[in-house]
């Protein structure tokens, strides 16, 4: 894992348009996720077989009551999209929390204690990286049955590696600084030093990793749901929407274009925000 410094460009951090675009996209997504029931014009689960595959507003013959049309079961696409945003954000954030707890604990302990503990942490990271994530996640969900909770736990257990790598390297940088030595001299316990001195000083790095991890988890959830082993139907996950609409895509491509673009824009927005935060915090890129 090589650390490569990025030469500063003309506009970075909060001065960059990209960061703001990312923040706006993420902001809209958060609002959609929280207020999904208020924002949706229809019930996302209500089927109306008389109104199947209505086209979205920019095409001829659209129904003004269904701005983005309806799916193969006559469910309002805009409402499903908004509820899908809720599922994506929920999974992204919770997976990031689960993997963050595991990764940060391992990384900080390895980086702080060094020696045998650090060897063990490095070994765990190496092993984790050699496990094919999609395949194992599919297998777990396939064997235990699909549910949101299981998906979050599985992805959380699989995606902690970047947290661990960054937490470990930043802890190593912090551990020998003067204020940590001062805390030792003042007679602070190891736990207190870890929680009160080390963690706050590596937090900005971890926030950046957390953002990027949310994006990764959202993409993975969509892929798993697309393969039929993620979020169970009839929940409106964007990946599941694409999978269900796949049979109709050759005749009405918009059925997969709409959820796909939503997914793409959200993930891009989170990445833009993450990159912007990294520059704003003045931290360096530590992933490859």
């Amino acid at each position: 894992m090589s650390t490569v410094s990025i030469t500063s460009g003309p506009r970075r951090g909060w001065k960059s348009a990209g960061t703001w675009i990312g923040a706006v996209i993420v902001g809209i997504a958060v609002i959609c996720a929280i207020f999904a029931p208020l924002l949706s014009p229809h019930d996302p689960f209500a089927q109306d077989l008389g109104k199947r595959l209505l086209v979205p507003f920019w095409m001829e013959g659209s129904d003004p009551a269904h701005l983005l049309g309806t799916d193969q079961l006559g469910r309002d696409y805009l409402s499903r999209l908004i509820y899908g945003c809720r599922i994506s954000m929920l999974i992204g954030v919770t997976v990031s929390i689960v993997s963050g707890i595991i990764g940060i604990a391992l990384g900080v302990l390895g980086g702080f204690l060094g020696g045998r503990v650090d060897d063990a942490v490095l070994f765990a990271i190496t092993t984790r990286l050699s496990i094919p994530v999609v395949l194992v996640a599919l297998a777990v969900v396939g064997l235990l049955g699909s549910s949101m909770t299981l998906l979050v736990i599985t992805l959380g257990l699989l995606l902690w590696d970047r947290f661990a790598v960054v937490a470990r390297s930043t802890t190593m940088q912090v551990r020998n600084l003067d204020f940590v030595s001062a805390a030792w001299c003042a007679g602070c316990s190891q736990t207190r030093i870890l929680v009160r001195e080390v963690l706050p000083n590596i937090a900005s790095h971890l926030v950046v990793v957390g953002t990027l991890e949310i994006a990764l988890a959202i993409l993975l959830e969509a892929a798993l749901s697309f393969l039929g082993l993620g979020v169970p139907p009839p929940l409106p996950s964007w990946g599941l929407m694409i999978a269900e609409a796949k049979d109709y895509m050759f005749f009405s491509p918009w059925v997969i274009v709409i959820p796909g673009i939503a997914l793409f824009v959200l993930v891009m927005g989170i990445n833009l925000l993450g990159d912007g935060l990294r520059d704003a915090f003045g931290t360096q890129r530590t992933d490859t």
Binding site: S2, V4, S5, I6, T7, G9, P10, G18, F123, T126, T127, L129, S130, I131, P132, V133, V134, L135, V136, L138, A139, V140, G142, L143, L144, A215, L219, A222, A223, F226, L227, L229, G239, I242, K246, M249, F250, P253, I256, V257, G260, L263, F264, V265, V267, M268, N271, L272, D275, R285, T288
Partner: protein, 303 residues
């Protein structure tokens, strides 16, 4: 050097052994395997028969050491569904996955090396920013969705490429492009960063002072040094691609190892699932070890 190699090989073996244990535990997660194999309509007697037939009545540790002992010698057991050797099933499907992975890697390198080098040479220009933007877009692209969009555009509307299957080399073009997309952002960023670092170093200044041509400086001096991390990451990316190809194989109906695993998960065919996890992990371990060793040979400072 020898010590470095020995240590690296031991770590690789330990990782492989750990993954082996995890792959075994993975398939025991669902609780009683015999119940799942026998199916939903099985009677208690059927389940007992299955348990006996597959040796599931033995203690778990015995089962594990039996399986692991055989797996080391290349015997991965028998598929419950296909009723053939798992090893021959995987051997039969592996060429498709490897062809796909290599196609993806070659496309990714063909795109990201020139992009990364040019972006580094024109650092902080509009071109550089466009390249970084492309890398960002690539990172956000859901691969299965890109595959479907390509199928609609180039398969159906333009009719240039076949939509699914593995009949000819044309069948690998779209899946290869989709797979390459996942590796292009990382490879481009790394090439760019490596080139920028190399261009700022003393030996480049010396080469400039000697009056060498720009092309010679770029390609002979800078690229050679910038290539070291790129080669390593390319090997690692190939490992990721083989593991991640399961989604793309499913989209394009390529019957490779990933597709086999996906089918087997649906059929509760545990020997196949645990074998594919193990094989893909071992390939990844081998590739990363090769990358590390290659790095050490190319760059003596790393030893």
């Amino acid at each position: 050097m020898l010590q470095f190699i020995v240590r690296r090989v031991i770590v690789a073996l330990l990782v492989a052994a750990t993954v082996m244990t995890l792959a075994f535990i993975l398939t025991r997660l669902s609780g009683d395997l015999a119940v799942s194999i026998a199916g939903p309509n099985a009677t208690q007697e059927d389940i007992e028969l299955v348990r006996k037939a597959y040796g599931l009545d033995r203690p778990v540790t015995t089962q594990f050491f039996d399986w692991a002992g055989r797996a080391i010698t290349g015997d991965l057991g028998e598929s419950y569904f296909f009723k053939t050797r798992v090893s021959s099933l995987i051997a039969e499907r592996m060429p498709i996955t490897i062809t796909l992975g290599l196609t993806g890697l070659i496309i990714a390198l063909l795109v990201s090396l020139p992009l990364g080098i040019l972006a580094a040479v024109r650092e902080n220009t509009a071109f550089d920013r466009v390249v970084q933007m492309v890398a960002l877009l690539g990172q956000a692209m859901p691969s299965f969705w890109l595959g479907l969009i390509l199928m609609i555009t180039f398969g159906l509307q333009l009719g240039w490429l076949p939509i699914s299957g593995t009949g000819s080399w044309q069948h690998y073009v779209m899946p290869g492009i989709v797979l390459a997309f996942s590796a292009i952002p990382a490879l481009t960023r790394l090439t760019r960063a490596g080139m920028i670092q190399a261009m700022g170093s003393d030996y480049i200044r010396t080469a400039r002072a000697k009056g060498l041509s720009r092309a010679s400086i770029l390609l002979k001096h800078a690229l050679r040094n910038a290539a070291i991390p790129v080669v390593a990451i390319a090997a690692v990316q190939l490992g990721f691609m083989l593991g991640g190809s399961i989604v793309i194989e499913q989209v394009f109906a390529l019957h490779g190892v990933g597709f086999l695993a996906w089918e087997s998960i649906g059929k509760n065919d545990f020997p196949v699932v645990q074998a594919v996890v193990l094989v893909l992990a071992v390939i990844y371990v081998a590739l990363t070890m090769l990358a590390d060793l290659m790095n050490a040979v190319l760059d003596p400072r790393l030893r």
